[in-house]
Each structure stands twice: as C-alpha cells, then as structure tokens.
C-alpha cells in the first residue's frame, strides 16, 4: 500500500491543517494546488470489517482530504462498498458485522466508545446506489425530512434549507414550482439529485456515495457527475464507482481495492497514468475486473 505519506499531521484536530512539502511524485507536476489543498477530513487506521468471521475489509489505512472527491475503485466483491459503509457506521445495523481499527473524522474516532452512531451519520451522510426517496413524502418533505424529524419545526428555516439544498443539488429550477408533488413524479436522475439534496440538507461534512449513477441512464449520470464536481466546494465526497472513466472524470483521489485490501491510494491522475502497484496497473489497464 502506497499513499504519499509525506504529510505529518498533529493529534490535535485544530492543527490538522497540514503543511507539507509537496515533493511527492504523485502530484505529477502540473497539479498546482497549494499546501492548504491537503486538509485531512477523515482517515482510517488499520480499519477492518468482518461479516461473522469473514474479513471483508482488511486493515485499511487511508486518508480522505477535505473538499475533494475520493473515488473507491476495484472489481466486484473487493470490499469497497463495505469499506464505504463502515465510514458512517452503517454496518452497525448489519447482523454479524464487526469493525476493528479506527475511522477518524476531524481527528476523532467515530468508533470510539461513547460515539453516538446517529450523530456520526448526521456529519457523514450517504447516497445510495438506487435513488431511494421516501415513498410517502413530497419533494419538499423529502428534502426537509432530516431536519424536520430531528425536531426543527420553524417553517422559515425549513424553507430556506429546502431551497439551499435543492439549489446545490442542481434541482431547484426543475422542481421549484412543484415542491408539493410526489417524489416519485421525478425521473431517475432527478430522484438521485433529490436524494443528494436530502443528504445536503442536514449539512454533513462528508457525503458517502455508493455507485450513485449505476442505476441511471447516461443523461442522469452526466447530471450527477456534474453535480459532484460542483459539490466538492462545500462537502467532502467519497464515492464508490464501477466505472473507471467516471473515477477519472470527477475524482481528485482514487483508492484501488482488491480482495478487501487497499492496494494503492493516490491522486487520480497518478493512479491511472503511473500506478505503482502491478495489480493497479492490471486493473486500470482492463486486464481483469
């Protein structure tokens, strides 16, 4: 496993704005981002996920940089979705699933005793493979549900949050005149953007996306990809994708998983042009997958 470990970050989350000498070769020269580019939002340390006694994810150490898109790629069954779901404690609900190691959000381990999974999920939202708007709710209610059901009743706050989230999910103009209509009246791509808006409404720091375009047609896929590129200004995105071209198009960092292990992590360009590991080269070169 090789990810450029040139940065040294402090234990204190406040000092986590890292100052690093950018001498690592994976920046491929032309990435002109400054040192402040690399703020660590999340990090896993020795993270393993087990189903019963089967280890689905094997001791992964991986950084997640703030306001960047990190793509998780790898063949089916390589553990990338399992890894993703362990990042907001979604596995707490899977019977027989167990996590060891650490997953830090802003320096704090989300698996530490006393950490409430509900609060963890407020900060780390999730968008799923298939659009899953709440079937009984209108567009407005879907977007505001996270706030409303957490006890926020004030209409003005909800209205504002709905407009903000839908605007940032690039859906506002299409639905602003029919906020009361049913969520299922939207197309697949629109439904997925609605789900992104719903996740945005609770103002998370990180959004996990599990193959967010795999059930969409090319048009819907394009709209989501465009949206993700815009969204990273506001929120850190970790995305599982089966589509290597998609990872190339929209991610800043790419992690290649194989058989439950993180084989290689680096800047997307580096992973796809100069992979360090043979396995990565074979995979991105299309030799298996």
């Amino acid at each position: 496993m090789h990810y450029a470990q040139t940065e040294v970050y402090a234990e204190d989350p406040k000092e986590q704005v890292l100052h690093l000498e950018r001498k690592e070769d994976d920046s491929a020269g032309e990435e002109s981002a400054s040192a402040a580019d690399r703020i660590l939002r999340m990090e896993t340390q020795n993270l393993s996920v087990y189903y019963q006694e089967v280890r689905g994810v094997d001791r992964v150490d991986m950084p997640v940089y703030a306001d960047r898109v990190t793509a998780l790629i790898g063949p089916s069954g390589c553990g990338k979705t399992t890894f993703l779901r362990s990042l907001n404690r979604m596995h707490d609900l899977t019977k027989g699933a167990r996590v060891t190691g650490k997953a830090l959000l802003d320096g704090k381990d989300i698996y530490a005793p006393g950490q409430d999974p509900i609060l963890v999920r407020r900060k780390i939202g999730m968008v799923f493979q298939k659009p899953n708007p709440f079937p009984t709710m209108s567009i407005y209610d879907n977007v505001s549900s996270g706030l409303r059901l957490a006890g926020i009743r004030k209409r003005s706050i909800l209205d504002e949050a709905v407009e903000y989230s839908l605007t940032h999910a690039a859906l506002w103009n299409e639905v602003k005149d029919r906020l009361k209509s049913h969520a299922f009246s939207l197309s697949g791509g629109q439904q997925q953007r609605l789900c992104i808006a719903r996740a945005l409404a609770v103002e998370p720091e990180v959004i996990l996306m599990d193959e967010p375009t795999s059930s969409l047609d090319p048009k819907g896929t394009a709209s989501i990809e465009e949206l993700i590129t815009m969204l990273k200004e506001e929120v850190t995105i970790i995305m599982v994708t089966h589509n290597m071209h998609q990872a190339m198009r929209i991610s800043d960092y790419t992690a290649f998983f194989y058989l439950g292990s993180l084989i290689e992590f680096g800047r997307t360009k580096q992973i796809f042009t100069h992979p360090r590991e043979e396995k990565t080269e074979e995979y991105v070169g299309g030799q298996f997958g």
């Binding site: 399992t82 899953n132 709440f134 009984t136 549900s145």
Partner: protein, 298 residues
C-alpha cells in the same frame, strides 16, 4: 421433451390450479347465496330500526328488528380494534424492526399461543379479568375478549408487511442521522400503511364473526343499549340465539343478521382500502415492483 408436451404440461398445471381455486370459491359462493336467499325476506325497514324485544312481539306480529345488535356490533368491534390495533402494531414493529430485542422470543411464543387458542378461551380470560372484577357483564368485557382475538393476527400481519418493506427506506432515514424509532414511525410505517391497514382489517373481520368470546362477556341483550358498561347485543351472538330459537320468524331474522354482518365486514374493507390508498398505497407498490437488490458486498 418436445415443445408440444411442454405446452401440454403447462396447460395441465394451469387447469389444475384453476380447479383448485374453484373448489375454494364454490363453497364461498354457495354460503353467500344461501344466506342471501334465506335472509333477504326478513330485511325490512323495521329490521334496521326496531329492537328485538320479547318473543311475544314476533308472535303477535308487532314490529321487531335487530337495530340493537347492529349498533352493539359496531360499538364492541370498534372498541376492540381501538384496543388491539395499537398493541398489535407495536408488537409487530418490535418483532420486525428490533429483531434482537430480548423480549422478542417471549413475544413470539405469546402471539403464536394466542393465535392458536380457541376463541371461547378468550371469553373465559375476559370473564376472569374484566367481568369478575366489575361484577357484571359489559360491552367493554366483550371488546376486550375480541381484542385478544385480533391481537396476534395484527401483530403477525404487521411484522410480515414491515419485513417486505424495502430496506432502502430505512437506510435512507438512518443515513440522515435519524434514530431507529423515528425512521420506523415516520418512514417505514407510512410506507407500509396499506399492509398494516389490511392486517387490522383481517383481524377485524375474523373477530367480527366470533360469537364464542362474547357469550359470557358482553352477554347479549334484547333491547337497545349504548352504555359500554352494560350488557350489549352483537350480530354473531344474536344469530346463534335466533337460530336455536323455536320461532320461524326469528330463524329468518337470523339469516338476515348474517347478511348484515357480511355487509358490515365488506363495507369496512372497502372503506379502509379507499382511505389508505390515497397517499402511500400506490407508490409503495411501484417501489416494490422493482426487484430489491442486495447492496451488500463481502
């Protein structure tokens, strides 16, 4: 195997299934027709407006009817639904949404036992728990007995319908940082609304036809009573006592009571289906029509 034999086999299986279905439907139609033919003559304006009174009324040809039994049935059955639905739905939720809860094994045994228990025993239970302490028969005790009949049916139905509600709805709610109970009440239950309503109705229909649990609880009454703390009449129980009475007129009134009972059950089915269709029903259907896929990878 040739194509021809495959078609032949297909046709054999389909016709076999059709005849099985007919075997079930025919007795049902016969019963409905028989009740209808025998009872229709006794259905008159008086039947719905007058109370039964003493046998003398019928013998002297004075107006007599079952208004008091119809009213009593509606009161006792709705009271029973009010008692059983919250408890039954709650039990179903616990069994389905919190499968690891420590009380669940006991709950499962209790609901299966209750489900298999003869209805007359529910009456006995209600007798010792409600009638004895109160010192008299009452509609309330009858409702309690019927609630015991409904309870396991509702619990099982709710558990079943929640189990087939797409998991993605729960994930969506939980990913928003909402607690499990909130997700269950605000997302899962509304999505399963139609199935829950159907479950309650099936329980209602089953209990509405029961006479045994009411024999020594609501007891019966020949006159109109709307006080739930006093004995009250119900259609199934009245049907029974009319059927074993020695008067011809009462016999046909018994058949008519059967018609009314069927209509009450069918009407409440229709009404509840209509009410629950509006928001949830249609959409959960479209959601379920797509095959659920596993999001899990190992």
């Amino acid at each position: 195997m040739t194509l021809k034999t495959r078609y032949l086999r297909d046709r054999i299986v389909v016709s076999l299934l059709a005849s099985m279905t007919a075997l079930v439907v025919i007795p049902l139609c016969v019963i409905i027709a028989y009740v209808g033919i025998n009872g229709i003559g006794a259905l008159s304006w008086d039947f719905f407006t007058e109370e039964l009174g003493s046998p003398a009324r019928a013998m002297q040809g004075r107006p007599t009817g079952l208004a008091h039994s119809i009213v009593g049935t509606l009161i006792i059955d709705s009271l029973a639904v009010c008692m059983a639905a919250p408890v039954g739905i709650g039990t179903g939720i616990l069994l389905s949404e919190f499968p690891d809860h420590p009380v669940n094994p006991i709950l499962r045994v209790l609901t299966s036992t209750l489900n298999g228990m003869p209805a007359v025993l529910m009456g006995m239970l209600a007798f010792s728990l409600v009638v004895k302490p109160m010192g008299r028969f009452s509609a309330l005790a009858g409702s309690f007995a019927l609630a015991l009949v409904m309870l396991p049916i509702i619990a099982r139905a709710v558990e079943g319908v929640l189990n087939i509600t797409p998991w993605s709805i729960r994930e969506a709610g939980l990913a928003l940082g909402l607690p499990r109970w909130r997700v269950t009440l605000s997302m899962v239950l509304p999505a399963a609304k139609r199935g829950v309503v159907t479950g309650v109705l099936i329980a209602f229909a089953r209990a509405a036809g029961e006479a045994a649990p009411l024999l020594f609880t609501s007891f019966g009454n020949n006159y109109m009573n709307t006080n739930i703390l006093k004995p009250m009449d119900t259609l199934p129980q009245r049907l029974y006592s009319l059927a074993i009475s020695p008067y011809r007129q009462w016999h046909s009134m018994g058949w008519a009571a059967g018609i009314v009972l069927m209509i009450i059950v069918l009407a409440s089915f229709a009404a509840a289906r209509l009410l629950s269709r509006e928001s949830a029903g249609l959409h959960i259907k479209s959601d379920r029509s797509k095959k659920p896929e596993s999001n899990k990878e190992v």
